[in-house]
């Protein structure tokens, strides 16, 4: 079953087309990663799906509601969590949750129950009486998530939910997101972190206002643009990765070279011998060792695809 169905969605601002004929579906219970460079049209797309902005053409339904004709029902049935902390800093955790429950029509005991439930879900009970402005970044994001969940929406939009928080808080937030997804909620997440993208069931990649690909992380890595026929991808350890990278880039056999952690990832014709590469590195004074075959990372996918697209589009 699809929670989101998008058909030819387009939004123009004057001459500029921010979202250009985008179509895709999001399945119930999935974590959908919506990726793309800054300014590619992600936010405009989310704004339309949340009923904030009317599309210039095309249609979409969210939880079965038409985003134009039934925008009020759409709003009632979604949660929204923004990258910037956007709750009230001068109100306490509990007051913020009471307020957001209230504007979704919750009253009395029902409100108290839901508040208690989300407070425990994100584990923020010990801070219930603290001012939201005094919380650290990670706790602020948990509070935002709790506020987005209080009316029990089946679908939650998370716009860069982990931007600017520390790695531990980031991991914990993702654990929460997995928990939500396993309880049947659908998560629509934007992120620039590749490790987060790896965790999504489905990925949509938007580039220059167009949705250029969609699939599972595994499917994306097998795309011909990422793994061209008759090529292979190897990882080489080296003590001086940066000079090694520059040296390898100029080699005729290098289709693509990049650094992943402190290893060189090299895409090259599959008839190139590993020894040829090691010799070239030796010669450049940056010896390599410990060569092995690797899968492309999602970063490889996006970098290669973006490069390919930039080449095709003038």
């Amino acid at each position: 079953m699809n929670v989101i169905e998008i058909n030819g969605l387009t939004r123009k601002f004057g001459d500029f087309t921010a979202v250009d004929d985008v179509s895709f579906n999001v399945e119930k219970g999935s974590i959908f990663g919506f990726l793309g460079p800054n300014g590619s049209g992600k936010s405009t797309c989310i704004r339309m799906l949340c009923g904030l902005l009317a599309p210039t053409s095309g249609t979409a339904t969210v939880n079965g509601f038409d985003i134009v004709k039934q925008s009020e029902q759409v709003k009632q049935s979604i949660g929204y969590m923004n990258q910037a902390f956007s709750l009230y800093r001068d109100l306490t955790v509990e007051e913020n949750l009471t307020f957001f429950g209230g504007i979704y029509g919750l009253r009395g005991k029902e409100l108290a129950d839901r508040r208690s439930k989300v407070t425990d879900l994100v584990g923020i009970r010990s801070y219930a009486n603290r001012r939201a402005g005094d919380l650290s970044g990670g706790w602020k994001q948990r509070l935002s998530l709790a506020a987005a969940l209080i009316h029990e929406p089946p679908l939650i939009f998370l716009d860069e939910p982990t931007a600017g928080i520390d790695p531990v808080a980031r991991r914990e937030l993702w654990d929460l997101l997995f928990e939500l997804a396993s309880s049947g909620k659908t998560l629509f997440v934007t992120t620039h972190y590749m490790d987060e993208a790896e965790r999504c069931n489905q990925i949509g990649y938007i580039y220059l206002s167009k949705l250029v690909l969609k699939g599972t992380p595994h499917e994306l890595k097998e795309l011909p643009e990422v793994c061209p026929p008759h090529t292979k991808r190897i990882a080489i350890a080296t003590l001086s990765p940066a000079p090694a990278l520059s040296a390898l880039k100029t080699q005729p056999f290098a289709v693509d070279v990049t650094l992943v952690e402190s290893e060189i990832h090299l895409l090259m014709p599959d008839d190139t011998k590993n020894q040829t590469v090691l010799d070239a590195m030796e010669k450049a004074g940056t010896p390599g060792y410990n060569v092995r075959d690797v899968e492309p990372s999602l970063e490889d996918v996006f970098v290669l695809l973006t490069r390919e697209l930039a080449r095709k589009m003038p």
Binding site: I78, Y80, N82, S86, Y88, F100, I103, G105, F157
Partner: protein
């Protein structure tokens, strides 16, 4: 380290900010021009054209001669005529006229009599604005020198503020002006702050209605403003001995539409202003001229035509009318209802425009 270190870069950077921030630049340049023009025209200590009513119960050639002589003075402007003194009193209490001249039925007979008796004319003056009242009296001094009227015995009756105290006149006006300043600033900040901290977007994705958001923002500040009304009135009484001649309950009730108007004006500002600093500038831009033009200090009647018409657009104009009516002249509901009607119209227009503008400014 030299404490002037970096001066050039800072100054240059500030110039760049100024050039980019068009709102600030326009307001900074527009305020002096607008204020100069307004101050220049609106501040006119030479009060003329005081609205005057004539009650001529005599209708003799002598009374007409007397009225014609009054017409020639610049101070008075005869705007209406009535048949009995009761009507004059009503018009004064409503604030329609400031002066009423009542000519007795025996005016012509006495002035024409050979016994040298002087006919009496009763002049009722609204003393709530002492400057206006003083000028009005002068109007009757001048014709006395011109022969024909030398024999008229003018009896002045200063109504409402017989001592012609400035405080009685100023305090009610101050209430209006202070309230406006505070309330416009209160709401103009509130929405801009939500936008700046990002919570506005969070609200927009929720089912909160636009009107619900607007009215919800108005009510708490309106309560605060009404507390201020009570505070200022109490202070006016305790410190400046200004008593409310009319009904305090009515005054309180009629304060509500005014406060709603100024708070809505604040909301309208916050749909235009992008930052809290800009909101503050807009607030100054709007409240400063209205202090001058509302009749708070300078009588509106003496303002040149287009400025006078502008005063009708300001909510505080009507509120000051209401305040002076109830506090000084003891006016009742039926005396001030036109001002109330005007405020209600302004309320509806401001809320409608602010609500309509609101959606556009978000995206």
């Amino acid at each position: 380290m030299n404490s002037m270190y970096g001066f050039q870069s800072i100054a240059l950077k500030e110039f760049l900010h100024l050039r980019r921030d068009v709102t600030t630049l326009v307001i900074a340049l527009a305020i002096p021009v607008i204020q100069l023009i307004l101050f220049g025209y609106a501040i006119d200590f030479d009060i003329r054209h005081i609205r005057t009513m004539i009650v001529d119960t005599d209708r003799s050639p002598a009374s007409r001669q007397f009225i014609d002589n009054l017409r020639t003075t610049d101070y008075l402007q005869i705007v209406s005529e009535a048949h009995n003194p009761m009507e004059a009193e009503d018009a004064l209490r409503r604030g329609d006229v400031r002066v009423a001249v009542i000519i007795p039925p025996d005016f012509g007979r006495i002035s024409g009599s050979p016994f040298g008796n002087r006919p009496q004319v009763k002049v009722m003056i609204d003393g709530s604005d002492s400057q206006v009242a003083l000028r009005a009296r002068m109007a009757f001094v001048r014709p006395a020198t011109s022969g024909a009227e030398a024999g008229v015995d003018v009896r002045f009756n200063i109504m409402y503020n017989p001592d012609m105290r400035t405080a009685t006149f100023m305090i009610p006006g101050l209430i209006g002006v202070i309230l406006q300043l505070v309330t416009v600033a209160l709401t103009s900040f509130s929405l801009v702050r939500e936008r700046e901290q990002g919570s506005l977007e969070q609200l927009m994705v929720s089912p909160v209605g636009r009107l619900g958001l607007m009215i919800g923002k108005l009510v708490p500040y309106a309560c605060l403003a009404l507390i201020e009304v009570v505070m200022v009135l109490t202070l006016g009484r305790l410190v400046f001995d200004v008593h409310v001649a009319g009904s305090v309950a009515l005054l309180f009730l009629l304060s509500i539409p005014f406060v709603v108007a100024t708070l809505s004006l604040g909301l309208l500002i916050s749909t235009v202003a992008k930052t809290q600093a800009a909101a503050l500038q807009f607030t100054i831009l709007i409240t400063l001229p209205s202090i001058l033009m509302s009749g708070f200090i300078f009588p509106r009647d003496t303002m040149p035509g287009c400025l006078y018409l502008l005063t009708f657009l300001l909510p505080v104009t009507y509120y000051i009318e209401i305040l002076r009516g109830i506090v000084v002249r003891g006016a009742g509901f039926f005396d001030v209802w036109p001002s109330l009607a005007a405020l209600l119209v302004i309320d509806c227009v401001l809320i409608a425009v602010a609500t309509a503008r609101f959606r556009k400014t978000l995206v």
